[in-house]
Amino acid sequence: MINVKEILDKLGIQEINNGVSTGAEWFEPAGAITNSVSPIDGKEIAKVKNATMEDYEMVVAKAQAAFKVWRTVPAPVRGEVVRQIGEALRKYKHELGALVTLEMGKIYQEGLGEVQEMIDICDFAVGQARLINGVSLQSERPQHRLFEQYQPLGLVGIVTSYNFPVAVWAWNSALAIAAGDVVIWKPSSKTPITAIATQKIIRDVLIANNVPEGVFNLIVAKSSVMGDNFIADKRIPLMSVTGSTAVGKRVGGIVGKRLGKTILELGGNNAVIITPDADIPMAIASTVFGTVGTAGQRCTTTRRVIIHESIYEEVKNKMVAAYGKITPKIGNPLDENFLVGPLIDKGSVDLFLNAVSSVEKEGGKVLIGGQVMEGKGFESGNFVMPCIAEAENHFHIVQEETFAPIVYLLKYSGDINNAVAINNAVPQGLSSACFTLNIREAETFLSAVGSDCGIANINVGTSGAEIGGAFGGEKDTGGGRESGSDAWKAYMRRQTSTVNYSADLPLAQGIKFDL
């Protein structure tokens, strides 16, 4: 078992920690002192001094000043800083991964995976720093050059959620920093200690490279101090928010009023389609990881399984059997013998229980699970038995995202188009998957009449995306894209330029304007 005290000591976590940093420097804020507790046993990990409005203003001023310097640093030099951050994360992968597990509750392997995602996006951003590019276009005017380029944008606000307490910061920061922006990070109030630890891990890199104070900012604050005012702050041109659709709509409305930019990565209601042509053992194994991994607390967790009626009973029975094997694997996520850890808190447990009772009230049937675990090791009250329920897609509770391990089995008949219709008949549009060996079904699912989600996979489940692809979804999921592919463009200001190297002044569209 992992030695918690040793981990906290190595990461520089103290009994009471300051919640404000502008990079290498830390400040003692005068806000409320809050404590972070582990969902595993309910015990306190450490305390945090929260920021006040004065702290916020100080950080924004430093960030503004730092941006003026940072935007002039060549992008490959900025990328080199990101490379060294990736190296620092490699050095502390075990400790930070364990702290993620301790504070958030995901199993240790997933904690390590989260830090690996941070490392991967740093590696990606190092290359991207040399690939920030624009296109050259053909001007209609003689001896004119027409082209596009991308400039640093400015301050980027990053609001992260507890379920990926540090990886989402890395997705955003690695690209933003390489792009020449500066970041202000507001971590989840449920996981401030992993944020503080991350900021401490990168400290030596910032000092060694003379990175100005104000490039990497961290503010731990309550939403009453750093909520709507943060989102409404015109000094911050881009807000990247990971959270619920409810929060995203609020953010979108406020930022929209000031015509700012957003990257919204919001809720999902992700489905797996299993067709008669599926490799069923593969589909079951993948789907069970998608439903119970991170105890159902991933944005991409599989929430619905759409099964063809001809194989419905077989898939149902095999899933229930697989869940039966999960029960003994529920336990302390720091112990590598377990596969499912706790929910983040009792509020989430209550919502899980509410979903279980709601699906039954609406006419569904619970097949397995749905209870709170009791007995030795489960004293925190945050461990639940993952639930499978038969339901119908139109049920109110099925249309919602319940951030817990409850999955709804839905039946379809006819061809793949009927399954796609069910897949798409929810407000959210994050991730989707289809298990089939039939190329017609697969290509239909991926076609213009197929899945309407930002992520659509064949024979790969809904969760566990690689960083190389752009991550995000459509509809109530918010439309933002983070991480790989061309997501970097969101962190930059696009500029179209025309250079006239002729001796004349021809106007576009052939307009005559002779003085």
Partner: protein, 70 residues
């Protein structure tokens, strides 16, 4: 009876100080927590989002205070 919970309380503070409110409000169709995080804004705003009028909101506040005092 002392009214500890006011409609102006932030949802973040409500769920932290009065965790029982999560299920109580969920059963009335008001979600305090989404994606595991408290939604932003006040209790009043969360109720208004559900289309509740001021009388209904006042009643919710009374019921929450009653639960808090039991």
């Amino acid at each position: 009876m002392q009214m500890q919970i006011q409609k102006e309380i932030t949802v973040e503070d409500l769920v932290e100080k009065y965790p029982f409110a999560v299920r109580f409000l969920a059963e009335k169709g008001i979600r305090c927590i989404a994606c595991g995080e408290p939604i932003w804004g006040t209790l009043e705003e969360a109720c208004e989002e559900k289309g509740m009028d001021s009388t209904s909101i006042d009643q919710i506040v009374i019921e929450l205070n009653n639960l808090s005092n039991t």
